[in-house]
């Protein structure tokens, strides 16, 4: 195996365009790749270490929102006032991500490219309608995150492409994130969700969006539920079935599909009730 250490983004994209895509892997924080390598699940001929590329670092405010460099670590997001104030759901997700050692290495682009249904930053990024800036040697394009992630471990990333940054538009209303893991740190989500809402002056709910993770091949919007609620469906007993319309959980080592279905419904119903939405009849 050959480890490449490109000098800058240009150099990196050139390398990527020249090396055979099937035998080449991009290494960022390595927190997903190294365990896979250790287990013998990947054996690339070429490893391109991008961790030091300055072009992919930093959080910048733009006219329409913010742009987060792909190599920004989870810990850096956790320490950003901008993220905490403007994107609290994303900020919460970084607080509940792994443990501090992993957060110091793990990158946001890595979490996205890894395309795990349980990736903890993903429900918030969906909620904020994130876009990705992808670059390759001769081109660059912008795509919606929803279009980029197509299944567990599957993305529409083209050979030679790199996630340069994540673009978040300005958002209105309040938002938050919740994670259920089997312990208080270093736990992969059994279910997670992010929720955003706005109220009118009189307190009436004017806007509501909910995304959920680890309950389908990719992150899902709980559209059936939110549309019904905005349309006046306040009976909590009806919510569970609405939630189940948009999810398709599986059994795995951490929990059964049945538990995931049930617990997601219970958590979201409880959450909405705390916001003053819903009643038992």
């Amino acid at each position: 195996m050959k480890i490449h250490q490109p000098y800058g983004l240009e150099d990196c994209l050139t390398l990527l365009s020249e090396l055979p895509p099937d035998a080449t892997v991009i290494l960022a924080g390595g927190t997903d790749l190294m365990p896979r390598y250790e287990q013998g699940r990947i054996l690339p001929n070429n490893l391109i270490n991008i961790k030091h590329l300055t072009e992919l670092q930093g959080i910048t405010e733009t006219e329409n929102g913010i742009e987060i460099g792909g190599l920004t670590t989870i810990e850096a997001l956790q320490h950003s006032d901008l993220i905490r104030q403007e994107y609290p759901a994303l900020w919460r997700s970084t607080a509940q991500f792994a443990g501090v050692q992993i957060r110091n290495r793990a990158t946001l682009a890595g979490n996205i490219a890894n395309a795990s249904p349980a990736g903890d930053t993903l429900p918030s990024l969906y909620l904020y309608h994130a876009k990705l800036k992808l670059v390759s040697r001769h081109a660059s394009r912008t795509t919606r995150l929803e279009d980029f992630l197509v299944g567990p471990g599957q993305t529409t990333q083209e050979p030679g492409e790199l996630i340069q940054s994540i673009i978040l538009p300005k958002v209105s209303g309040s938002s938050c994130f919740y994670k259920l893991g089997l312990r208080d740190a270093m736990a992969i989500s059994v279910v997670n969700y992010a929720l955003r809402y706005s109220n009118a002056e009189d307190g009436e709910l004017t806007d509501l969006e909910i995304t959920a993770g680890a309950v389908a091949p990719t992150i899902v919007f709980l559209d059936a539920l939110t549309t019904a609620i905005l349309g006046g469906e306040t009976n909590i007993a009806a919510w569970q079935a609405l939630i189940e319309q948009d999810i398709a959980p599986i059994d795995d080592i951490r929990a059964s599909a049945d538990y995931r279905r049930k617990v997601l419904g219970r958590l979201i119903s409880h959450h909405l009730q705390r916001l003053g939405v819903g009643s038992h009849e």
Partner: protein, 762 residues
């Protein structure tokens, strides 16, 4: 009273801490010998079936390949069973679990050895594996060994039928406890160094004398040709009791053939798949009480999953049988314990050794009974708890050091135990909290079943410069043995701790001291130190009297000096040691202690099962999230009767660690396998240990009810620290849910289902 002691009862900082903190301690993985090679086992890919043949030609083509050896290449006996001779070093015809060793491959590098071992082609005829206690029991015609029972134990005392006839309330319940994987930080590892016809073995080993015996047998050489030296060991918890024997013996076969040092370290994934774990138990308890709350009769069936080989099952089963009804007086009892073979990794020793399982059984029963009687769980326990002069369930009248009641009262007071069983509910109704209590006893050392090897030694050697070297037959595995051995030696000799160095445990230093298990170290080594010092003291006193020209009666060892109590003159210890040397006096002594004879009848299980017991009560405050079923332990009040405290800081560390490990077993750790017998939780992302974020606030209390046979009155603590925790948590969760939680781990899913059942029943 503690004024009398200079070292006992003081928190001497851990003597092994500087090396471990600075990184200077050299573990087995750091060690290297000239011309050393690496080995790795070839293992069964199937859980059950016939071994038809192996083809090593792919391994031969691998770089650095040096050789592969199988059953036919073993110079001595192909047998490594610790107690029963049921385990071949290399499987010959029958394969009994995924990971059953078939042979060993050696290569020049570690990576090459692992690749070569994995490349060996293994031809098998698989059979459907037996993967549970019930499947093993039912299997007709399908036998893992000659039959599927690894061992049985019985206890019969009084007349249980008469007891049940007198009882006002009789309750029956089934209880289930799971596997537990040790997950010691340092995986299993060893180096075997051949020197002609003799072998020196280094390794992360709990029982050096077991390893010596195993290698001698497998190579067909005498014990004297095998020297085993323990290297600093990064945790064991029982997991390095049986496994190092087979592991080192396998490496020794390669070393015998190659005549080069052979190193073998298991990869974590393999370590989890191949090595021993805590026995899963399924238990049926039937217990009768009078309406005044007196225990009258118990009929208990214990069934254990022994895995593919018996290893230590018979002694685990013995302990669980002897302690099945806990530290309570009960006139009529019958216990029948059976260990069943299955096609899963062998289960063996794990901190508590059958006691956490039995305690889960009796302590859940005590709560279920209290509930049925409408009695407070603490009050009900107090009515039955063992007091001095009363007999244990095996009919052993204990007259001293019975601190069970004191631990219960202490922790109940500290936790402000509330008789009101209703859980506290958070404002929004989401969280509920309650207390749960659990009491245990733990027979110190090996008991009647292991009495013949329940002796241990120490060698104290005094050097001319006044430094003192101590060799002991048990080991440090992280529990703090080196520190307490230093303290006890310093106390017995009346010298400063700085003079004392503890040597690595080495079979060539002291006679066979048995295994480093069963919370033995303080009791065994402490008594052996006192015995050695009894031999040395007269020599030292006579020499000192001679040097100071006074009568030996007037010589006293105080504050690291020898003092003439009449004149007040003093001599330094170094000067005395030099004087010993120049006057040609003996400068060393071997100390020995053996557990006194026990009167015990193996047929009925009646008698002195153990010479004494440690006692403990844990009270846990537990919170359950009613939305998700998640369980969090907020606090544990832990009271332990340890006889006499040797090192308070070390003791607190043991109890904190024990509680967290117990909470792990009760809530998080969910060891799994698939239908083919392959482990599905072979790493830390699937086998969930509690992390620092999940650790428990522990408040510990000490009862010092001295044991006359213990050194300075001390009893063991290593295992009692974990034993009551799981049952205390399950008792609290049962109160919260309003349903008996008789199976652990208490995963969110299991707890949520119980909540829903409760709602349906209401």
């Amino acid at each position: 009273m503690s004024e009398k002691f200079h070292h006992i009862g003081k928190s001497l900082p851990r003597v092994d801490a500087p090396g471990k903190v600075s990184g200077l301690t050299r573990f087995i993985t750091d060690m290297h010998f000239d011309s050393m090679v690496f080995a790795y086992p070839v293992v069964s890919p199937i859980a059950f079936g016939a071994l038809d043949g192996v083809d090593i030609s792919p391994a031969r083509k691998m770089p650095g390949f040096l050789g592969a050896w199988f059953a036919g290449d073993i110079p001595g006996e192909n047998q490594v069973g610790v107690i029963l001779p049921d385990q071949p070093l290399f499987a010959q015809d029958k394969l009994r679990f995924v990971g059953d060793a078939i042979g060993i491959v050696a290569a020049e590098t570690e990576v090459d050895a692992i690749s070569a071992a994995r490349s060996v082609k293994i031809d098998t005829t698989p059979r459907e594996p037996i993967l549970s206690i019930n499947a093993s029991k039912m299997a007709t015609g399908k036998k893992i060994h000659e039959n599927n029972i690894a061992c049985e134990h019985r206890l019969e005392r009084g007349d249980i039928q008469a007891g049940f006839a007198d009882a006002d309330v009789v309750v029956e319940a089934d209880l289930v406890t799971p596997y537990q994987e040790h997950f010691y930080l340092e995986p299993q590892g060893c180096i075997v160094v051949p020197q002609g016809d003799a072998f020196t073995v280094y390794g992360s080993i709990q029982c050096v004398f077991y390893v010596q015996k195993a290698i001698a047998k497998v190579l067909g050489i005498s014990f004297s040709k095998v020297r085993v030296i323990q290297t600093p060991t990064g945790g064991a918890f029982g997991g390095k009791e049986d496994i190092p024997s087979e592991m080192c013996a396998r490496a020794a076969v390669a070393a015998w053939h190659l005549q080069r040092p052979v190193k073998m370290i298991y990869r974590r994934r393999d370590d989890v798949q191949w090595t021993s774990k805590r026995h899963p138990f399924q238990m049926h308890y039937k217990v009768g009480v009078s309406k005044t709350g007196k225990l009258l009769s118990a009929d208990i069936i214990l069934e254990e999953n022994a895995g593919a080989y018996a290893t230590l099952s018979s002694v685990v089963s013995y302990r669980a049988t002897m302690q099945a009804m806990g530290p309570y007086a009960i006139p009529n009892i019958q216990v029948h314990s059976t260990s069943y073979y299955t096609n899963l990794p062998p289960t063996g020793a794990f901190r508590g050794f059958g006691s956490p399982q039995a305690t889960f059984g009796h302590e859940r029963m005590m709560d279920i009974l209290a509930d049925r009687l409408g009695m407070d769980p603490v009050e009900f326990r107090l009515k039955n708890i063992l007091k001095p002069g009363q007999e244990t369930q095996t009919g052993h009248a204990l007259s001293t050091s019975v601190g069970a009641e004191a631990t219960l009262l202490k922790s109940a007071n500290a936790a402000e135990w509330q008789t009101d069983a209703r859980p506290m509910v958070s404002k929004d109704g989401r969280y509920r909290e309650a207390l749960g209590v659990s009491v245990c006893h733990y027979g110190n050392c090996l008991g009647a079943a292991g009495w013949s090897m329940d002796g241990a030694g120490v060698k104290i050697q005094i050097n001319r410069d006044g430094s003192i070297a101590v060799a002991f037959g048990l080991i440090e595995m992280g529990q703090g043995a080196l520190t307490v051995v230093t303290q006890m030696t310093a106390e017995a000799l009346g010298v400063n701790a700085e003079r004392i160095s503890i040597l690595p445990t080495d079979t060539s230093q002291v006679p066979d001291s048995g295994p480093s298990v069963a919370s033995r170290n303080i009791v065994m080594t402490g008594n052996a130190i006192r015995n050695a010092v009894e031999k040395l003291k007269p020599i030292l006193s006579t020499a000192a009297a001679e040097a100071m020209e006074c009568a030996p009666e007037n010589v006293a060892f105080q504050n690291d000096q020898v003092v003439n109590t009449k004149s007040g003159n003093a001599l330094s210890i170094s000067a005395l040691c030099e004087y010993l040397y120049v006057t040609n006096r003996p400068m060393d002594a071997l100390g020995w202690w053996h557990v006194p004879a026990l009167t015990y009848d193996a047929q009925t299980g009646r008698g002195e099962a153990y010479f004494t017991y440690s006692y403990a009560t844990h009270i846990a405050r537990v919170q359950v999230d009613t939305l998700t079923g998640q369980v969090r332990v907020q606090k544990v009040w832990a009271a332990h009767d340890v006889g006499k405290i040797i090192n308070p800081a070390g003791l607190a560390g043991q109890v904190q660690g024990g509680v967290v490990q117990g909470a792990g077993w009760a809530i998080y750790e969910n060891f799994g396998h698939d239908n083919a017998g392959r482990i599905t939780t072979p790493n830390l992302s699937t086998y969930l240990l509690p992390t620092a974020a999940d650790s428990v606030d522990v408040q510990a209390f000490w009862i010092e009810d001295p044991e006359p046979l213990g050194p300075w009155g001390a009893k063991g603590i290593g295992e009692p620290a974990i034993i009551p925790t799981a049952a205390a948590i399950a008792n609290a969760v049962s109160r919260i849910v309003g349903q008996p939680m008789n199976q652990i781990p208490l995963t969110p899913e299991r707890v949520l289902v119980a909540f829903e059942d409760k709602v349906v029943h209401e």
